[in-house]
Every structure is written in structure tokens, then in C-alpha cells.
Amino acid sequence: MEKRQVHRVRLSELHEKGMDRRGFIERAIAWGVSMLCGGLFAYPVFSFMTFRKSRKRTVIFHSDEQGSDVFFKEGVYLVHEANAPRALSARCTHLGCTLNFDPAADRFRCPCHGSVFERSGKWLSGPAKKDLEHVPMKQAENGDLTAVVTL
């Protein structure tokens, strides 16, 4: 008799604390609903804060700027090749520093972490590992070359 009573007391205690089966389901539902509501609010907030239009920027090389062997303008290198000029992004593929052109060695060098690239944009040494980004170009009727860089 005594034992059964003790058991009953414990059950009711559990019920009061909301820890029996019914209480657990209730709490689980309450928790789930609040998480859902929180998420429903948090998702738009996060989307709003992290939204970014894909943005592009154009660099125009006028005909008088196309003469030199390697020409730098606004983050783009215009490199003369045998057939046609080629536009390379001056952003180091490692962490985005602007590369310097070393005319003596005919290489691009990064001043921040020392990556080295060939004149064609191919990666040679250093932590960058990837080749330089080729920037698409269009030639206008007046001879201007327009390069479109993604920001």
C-alpha cells in the first residue's frame, strides 16, 4: 500500500513540473511553435541584412591607353598578347590585394602574401593557387575597349 502511494505522489509531482508524457508533448509543441515563430521572423531579418545585388563595374580603355605592353587601370590589367589584348583582373585570387606588375621578370606579384602569376594570368607560386580571373571585353566602334568586372 505504502509503495503505491509513493509512486502516485511521484507521478503527480512529475505532472506539476510538466515532465510526464502529456506535459512533455505540450512543452514540445510550445517549444516548436516558438522556434517556428522565431525562425519566421529571423529569416527575413537575415535575408534583409545579407542581401546583395550582383554588381558589375566597367573599365574603359581608350585607344591611347592600349599602346603600352601592360597597362593598369582601375583594378584591371590590359595585357598585350600575340593576337589580341587580354584583360586580367588585378585582384589576387588569394585574398584580393591588388597585384603589381614586375616588368623585369614579366610577372604579377602580390604585395600582401607574395603570390606570383605569369603574364598570361597563370598561377606560379605562393598561397593563391588559382589563376587570375579573365575579364570579358568588348570593342566599341571608336576603338575603346570595355571590360566588365564583377565586384
Partner: protein, 270 residues
């Protein structure tokens, strides 16, 4: 406080900073005062933390006090770093881009997270500016509010510090700043990130910039929790584990390695 009336985080920011330094009356003085007091604040904050660490004083305080101290220290360094970006000279711009690119290497959420701190394009300096002048100062003052209320240095000490900073700003002129498109052969980060810079030359950005600093920060934060580690020293290997404060040694080793790397970079270049 004075600089905020002239500094603009959009447009020709480098020209704006140069104007403050060379054109605006006493601009050079206020810039050096701002720079010197910022450095002094972070260095004193760092010494304060070292004092707590070396004397194991964190054992006598509640856990949250230690967390507050470390968080305030890291945020102070971040304030210094955003200030470094906002100079808008070559090293500032590059530091900002490196910061952005390192954040972007975080898997899945990297792009979104980097967007919360810095973006490329015309408003490059705007978010660092917002953090430097608004979020971070408010957050740091909030974190140390009890400290400010209960304990401030003696008047004499404050006066001496102020006079020292005044003299520093008066006598030491700002260094020559390179414009962002200058072709400098090598560009260095702020002194406290020189070790990171040499690490980035050898280790992948995710590891050098996120994982290793993250592990170090976690170890530092959790340091006081190991003070009762005797609790699980029951037998064998665990006995040894419980008797040695591993986390404390791990923090020391990581810190000394990083300091060594930084000093090496300072003397011989990174």
C-alpha cells in the same frame, strides 16, 4: 570625437583622410591623438588581461566576468582593426579586402556573414565605419559598465596619461600614407596581425583566418571552467588529465607561438 565632423566614409575617402591630416587646422594633431589613445587603450586592456591570466585571478571571479573581459579585449582589437581599414590608404584598403575574403571562405554562410561586416564597391568603408564609431564603442562601454562605475584610475594617473598622449600627438607626426593604387612592393597589416599575415602566406585562409583564431578564442573563453577539472580525475590517464590544467598550457603555447611569429615578422618581415 573631433574627427567625426570631418571624416566621410563614402566617396574619395583617402583624399578625405589626407585633407584631415594636411589641410584641416590641427588635423594631424587630432589624428595622432586618436591613434595614440586607441593603441594605448588596447595595449592597457591587453596588459590587464595578461595580469588576470598570469596571476590566475579568473579563478576568484564568476565565469561571466572573465568572458566579459575577453570579449571586450577582442572587440577592442576589432575596433583598432576597423580604424586601420578606415585610414583608406593602401594598407587599409588591402586589410579590408583580406578581412572580407577571409570571412567569405567560411563554408555555406561565408558570403552572408562577410556582408554583415564589409562589402565591396562604393560603400566599402561604410560598415567598418559603422562598427568603429557606433556598434563597437557602445558594446565595449556596455560590457565594462560596472567596471567604469566602480573603479576608475586616480586623477593623477589620468592626468599623466592625458599629458603623455598630448605630447605624443604633438611631437610624433603621422607617417606617410600610400594611396590605394600605389604599387608598393610589400604591404603590411597592423602590428597585431603581422603573425596572421605570415600564417596566411603558408596556411589556407580558412585555417589561418577562421579555424585557428577560433580555436584559440574558444580556449581562452573556456579557461576558468577547467579550474575544477579535478572532478573527473578518477583513475589512470584521467588522473593525470585532471591534475594538469591543459587548457591553460594550450592557451600559453598558442599565444607564445603567435607572438613569436609576430615578432619574427616585425624584425625580418613576414
Amino acid at each position: 570625437m573631433v574627427l567625426i565632423f570631418y571624416y566621410r566614409p563614402v566617396g574619395e575617402v583617402f583624399a578625405n583622410v589626407e585633407a584631415i591630416t594636411t589641410l584641416v587646422p590641427y588635423g594631424w594633431f587630432f589624428r595622432q591623438l586618436h591613434y595614440g589613445s586607441g593603441q594605448a587603450f588596447v595595449i592597457l586592456m591587453f596588459l590587464h588581461t595578461m595580469d588576470h591570466f598570469l596571476k590566475k585571478r579568473y579563478v576568484h571571479y564568476p565565469f561571466r566576468v572573465w568572458v566579459t573581459l575577453i570579449l571586450a579585449l577582442f572587440l577592442s582589437f576589432f575596433t583598432l582593426f576597423t580604424g586601420f581599414i578606415l585610414k583608406a590608404d593602401q594598407e587599409g584598403v588591402f586589410a579590408g579586402r583580406i578581412f572580407m575574403n577571409i570571412l567569405q571562405t567560411i563554408p555555406i554562410v561565408g558570403d552572408s556573414i562577410s556582408r554583415l561586416f564589409i562589402v565591396s564597391g562604393n560603400d566599402f568603408f561604410f560598415l567598418p565605419y559603422l562598427y568603429h564609431c557606433f556598434f563597437l564603442p557602445i558594446l565595449i562601454v556596455y560590457l565594462i559598465r560596472h567596471h567604469i562605475r566602480e573603479w576608475l584610475p586616480e586623477k593623477g594617473f589620468m592626468m599623466a596619461g592625458g599629458a603623455g598622449l598630448f605630447l605624443y600627438a604633438l611631437l610624433v607626426k603621422p607617417g606617410v600614407a600610400f594611396p590605394p593604387d600605389a604599387g608598393a612592393a610589400s604591404v603590411e597589416g597592423p602590428w597585431f596581425f603581422l603573425g596572421m599575415q605570415s600564417l596566411l602566406k603558408r596556411v589556407s585562409p580558412l585555417w589561418a583566418g577562421i579555424v585557428l583564431p577560433g580555436v584559440f578564442a574558444m580556449c581562452v573563453f573556456l579557461l576558468p571552467l577547467t579550474r575544477k577539472s579535478g572532478a573527473f580525475s578518477s583513475s589512470g590517464v584521467w588522473m593525470l588529465w585532471g591534475k594538469v590544467d591543459w587548457l591553460r598550457y594550450a592557451v600559453m603555447v598558442m599565444f607564445l607561438l603567435y607572438t613569436g611569429l609576430t615578432v619574427k615578422a616585425m624584425i625580418w618581415g613576414s
